[in-house]
């Protein structure tokens, strides 16, 4: 397996992470002063700093929330079950074997393994908001009568804040430990300082069956594609497309759109001339129905203008039916998948 350095964490993410880390540590220390468990600092000072740091954290979170929404990076925190069991298995067993590597391959597009996603989601959707709201209630308890909160709740609000703060303490402890479980030990912390991590070179996953949608009213062409895919390796051993495909065939635009709504596909082969639609409009309809799926257009025409137009509108390639060969088609499939992968990662 080969690796290459890749910028995983942007400058803002690193600023966010480290500022947040400092503020949370400072809040933990001053918080223990406010609860009376530590007396290194003057109480008034500790209490004032606690409020001050909390305010900075709220500002940071507000800006970061905005940043996450604008950049679409909130996607990084959507929980997924993909590889979840592998990761759990790794942490409970595989981690003890120095020769085993982490089953999750991080990339710019997916920085967090499924466990991290869940942990960070709980942190940002449950722990932080509860801390924030209970802390803000506590700080402004003099104004509770404005919204009709009985002041007798003060003790309970403080209790919630303290309880969740301990959860945060546990998170911080665990988080710091996890940072140093990487290989090499300091990889994760260096990545969070420089932003650059050694990322495994990606290959198409040969173990997976790829879903291909062929939208073609000419049954012969559809059969031909199916046949080429089933034909096994090339004579010369050049495995240009080392993956298996499962083919779904549609002969109308309407049925294709229905199929796209029902299933996920990895690749679409699209004939622009269909019984219910013709020309560049066909591509537009399919693109609208499957925004993230690479499309290959096949067509009789050799019109240069149309070819450019089709690529301009988002197709990965334009294959002329009369020039079609197995090698050209599979090469185009492979490149489309690789290019798609690359573009998605950026």
């Amino acid at each position: 397996m080969t690796y290459h350095p890749e910028l995983l964490f942007s400058r803002y993410e690193r600023f966010w992470h480290w500022t947040q880390a400092l503020l949370i540590l400072a809040l933990i220390v001053t918080g223990f002063h406010v609860t009376g468990f530590v007396e290194w600092l003057d109480y008034e000072l500790a209490a004032r700093w606690h409020r001050q740091f909390a305010l900075y954290l709220v500002l940071l979170w507000t800006f970061t929330l905005f940043w996450l929404l604008i950049t679409g990076e909130w996607h990084q925190y959507v929980p997924t079950s993909e590889k979840m069991m592998d990761v759990i298995h790794y942490y409970s067993k595989g981690i003890f074997d120095p020769f085993l590597t982490h089953p999750f391959k991080k990339s710019r597009r997916r920085k967090h393994n499924p466990l991290q996603r869940i942990a960070y989601l709980i942190l940002s959707v449950i722990l932080s908001p509860v801390l924030l709201v209970s802390g803000a209630l506590f700080a402004f308890y003099k104004n509770w009568h404005w919204v009709g909160i009985p002041s007798i709740w003060l003790e309970d609000v403080a209790g919630v804040h303290v309880a969740v703060a301990y959860a945060m303490v546990c998170f911080v402890i665990l988080h710091i430990y996890m940072v140093f479980t990487g290989k090499p030990t300091t990889a994760a912390i260096i990545a969070m300082i420089t932003g650059v991590a050694e990322v495994e070179d990606m290959e198409l996953d040969a173990n997976r069956e790829y879903q291909l949608l062929v939208v073609e009213d000419d049954a012969v062409i559809a059969l031909m594609i199916q046949g080429w895919l089933d034909a096994g390796e090339f004579r010369d051993g050049d495995a240009i497309l080392p993956v298996k495909f499962s083919v779904t065939h549609c002969d109308h635009l309407s049925s294709a759109i229905k199929a796209l709504a029902q299933n996920t596909f990895d690749l679409i082969v699209l004939d622009l001339t269909l019984p219910d639609c013709d020309g560049i409009a066909t591509l537009r309809h399919i693109r609208a129905a499957a925004r993230d799926v690479p499309i290959l257009v096949i067509h009789e025409s050799m019109d240069d203008n149309l070819q450019s137009r089709v690529i301009h509108e988002g197709s990965q390639d334009f294959l002329v039916k009369t020039h079609l060969s197995r090698r050209i088609l599979l090469r185009s499939f492979r490149f489309a998948l690789e290019r798609h992968w690359f573009l998605q990662g950026r």
Partner: protein, 539 residues
């Protein structure tokens, strides 16, 4: 265009310069150099005397101040009777008992040396009661005035005058009451200097800045009556009528109650101009709690325990009995810092300085024990009781001096004992100060108080509390936050209020720390396993 801009700029600079304040307002008009009174009493022919007695001085006073005696005779200082009490009860010095000498009843000869009249035997019964008002005790400024038996300013024995002050000098020197005037009684209550209150003693006469920021002799140099203003000679701020929280705020003539006996009367109810967090405390904590940081801060100790069991005995404590030491510790006083005093008449008393007060909710209501009341067994006698709780919007957390004593007790009828402590005259042979005989003197005292006496005197613990409000420290000596916001801080026992830093939510903290430790423990196990298995696998 440029010219217009330059002109505008110049105008702005000029206006800005004009707006810069030119230092503090110089409007003192050299107040100190000018007599504040429109009358210099030393120039009045009527005060040339001669005066045979204090009453003759008073006659001269009321010849000009025509209404004053009538006013004084309505005041608590004269009647020793408080009508501010809860309905159905009358308090005041004449009626209540205390945890010091007991009661004024049957001890009038000596107790009335602090009455602002001459001749307590019949204060309202003389030919002209107005002349029995003692103007001098409050208004003389020479410091050479003293009052004796039954409030007379002449020391007499069998109606023969032994000592008499220079009434003319006293009369010519009258002025607004100074701290020493009020202090001549209020600093010495409860048997001696500083004994009773914990925040009133002779150190206030020449107060240092650290002792009292208002009375500080080189500072504002306030006399008592600056705050305890006295419309119609009715002194405001009675201990029988405490306002635990002054919602009226800064005193404005015509809008408020006309008294300045609350901090808020001058400072308002958001007094910390640079610290809102401190102002957040005002709805829960009395100013005094932080600004009167300790009792007896002026170098004069205050009494914390009075053991009447030792009265009549030649020798007092050689050391503090363990039981009493425990009591002191429970009050937060270190027994080794407590000093003793013993005399045969009064028994042994314990005194301390710079003592930490007790804190409690207080809404201003203080009830006093009715001496006739039958007392339950097994609990200390509460001479007075304060009221207030967290749910009471007029209550604040206040500092208190809590006095303990071992008082004589009627073990047959289960009442307090009113003791005939001092002789009513030279022929009185039954007073305790002469006989040291409890049952004899108690019988006399109880008879005079009209309480049935069972004939046997035992002793019982008693408590009395005094809200602390004087000896206001400068801000740098006021309590720091940590004094209360900590485990085992000053407000540890005060219920019904959430105080951050007290030992709150012990179970959450326990669970939280357990969770953090479990996380750490889990990590350690995981780490150990990783290192061990790694070595094994690599070898």
């Amino acid at each position: 265009m440029v010219r217009v801009m330059i002109r505008t700029l110049l105008c702005c600079v000029v206006v800005a310069l004009l707006m810069v304040p030119s230092g503090p307002l110089q409007a003192n008009y050299a107040l100190e150099a000018m007599p504040q009174s429109t009358t210099r009493h030393g120039k009045l022919p009527i005060l040339e005397g001669p005066f045979a007695s204090g009453m003759e001085v008073t006659r001269a006073c009321v010849s000009c101040h025509t209404e004053v005696a009538a006013n004084v005779r309505k005041s608590v200082h004269w009647t020793w009777e408080s009508t501010y009490s809860p309905p159905g009860k009358v308090f005041g010095k004449k009626h209540v008992i205390n945890a010091f000498c007991g009661a004024v009843t049957s001890n009038m000869r000596e107790c009335t040396s602090c009455h602002i009249g001459y001749g307590w035997q019949d204060p309202e019964g003389g030919a002209n009661p107005d002349e029995q008002v003692d103007c001098l005790v409050c208004h003389e400024s020479t410091g050479d005035y003293k009052k004796y038996n039954f409030g007379y300013s002449e020391l007499k024995f069998r109606d023969k005058i032994i000592k008499k002050p220079d009434f003319v000098a006293l009369a010519k020197g009258v002025a607004r009451p100074g701290r020493a005037n009020c202090g001549s009684c209020h600093f010495y209550g409860g048997s001696g200097d500083g004994a009773k209150h914990g925040d009133l003693d002779s150190s206030l006469v020449k107060a240092s800045r650290s002792l009292d920021i208002h009375m500080h002799k080189d500072g504002q140099n306030f006399s008592c009556v600056v705050c305890h203003n006295a419309p119609g000679h009715q002194i405001t701020g009675s201990r029988y009528r405490v306002k635990a929280y002054d919602a009226l705020g800064i005193d404005r003539p015509g809008h408020t109650d006309g008294t300045r006996t609350s901090c808020a009367s001058c400072h308002g109810n958001a007094p910390h101009s640079k610290n809102d967090k401190l102002n957040d405390h005002v709805d829960r904590v009395a100013c005094q709690t932080c600004h009167v940081p300790a009792m007896a801060r002026g170098g004069v100790p205050t009494m914390v325990f009075w053991d009447w069991r030792m009265a009549g005995q030649k020798k007092g404590y050689s050391e503090i009995a363990p039981e009493v030491a425990d009591l002191l510790k429970k009050e937060g006083h270190l027994p080794e810092k407590i000093s003793f005093h013993h005399d045969r008449t009064h028994g042994t008393s314990l005194w301390g300085e710079n003592l930490v007060p007790r804190y409690a909710w207080f809404n201003g209501r203080v009830d006093f024990l009715d001496p006739k009341q039958t007392l339950p067994d097994g609990v200390p006698i509460a001479i007075n009781r304060i009221f207030g709780s967290a749910g009471d919007s007029s209550a604040r957390i206040w500092p208190f001096k809590k006095m303990w004593s071992m008082l004589p007790f009627d073990s047959v009828n289960h009442t307090v004992v009113i003791n005939h402590l001092v002789k009513s005259g030279p022929d009185d042979k039954e007073a305790f100060e002469d006989t040291g005989n409890w049952s004899q003197s108690a019988a006399v005292g109880m008879k005079e108080a009209g309480i049935p006496f069972g004939g046997q005197v035992a002793f019982r613990y008693a408590t009395m509390v005094f809200p602390l409000t004087h000896m206001v420290a400068p801000k740098e000596l006021s309590l720091k936050c940590r004094e209360c916001h900590r485990h085992g801080g000053r407000l540890e026992g005060v219920a019904g209020v959430y105080i951050p830093g007290r030992n709150n939510h012990p179970s959450i903290h326990g669970l939280g720390r357990a969770a953090a430790l479990l996380t750490l423990g889990g990590i350690l196990i995981h780490l150990t396993l990783r290192l061990l298995l790694r070595r094994k696998r690599l070898s």
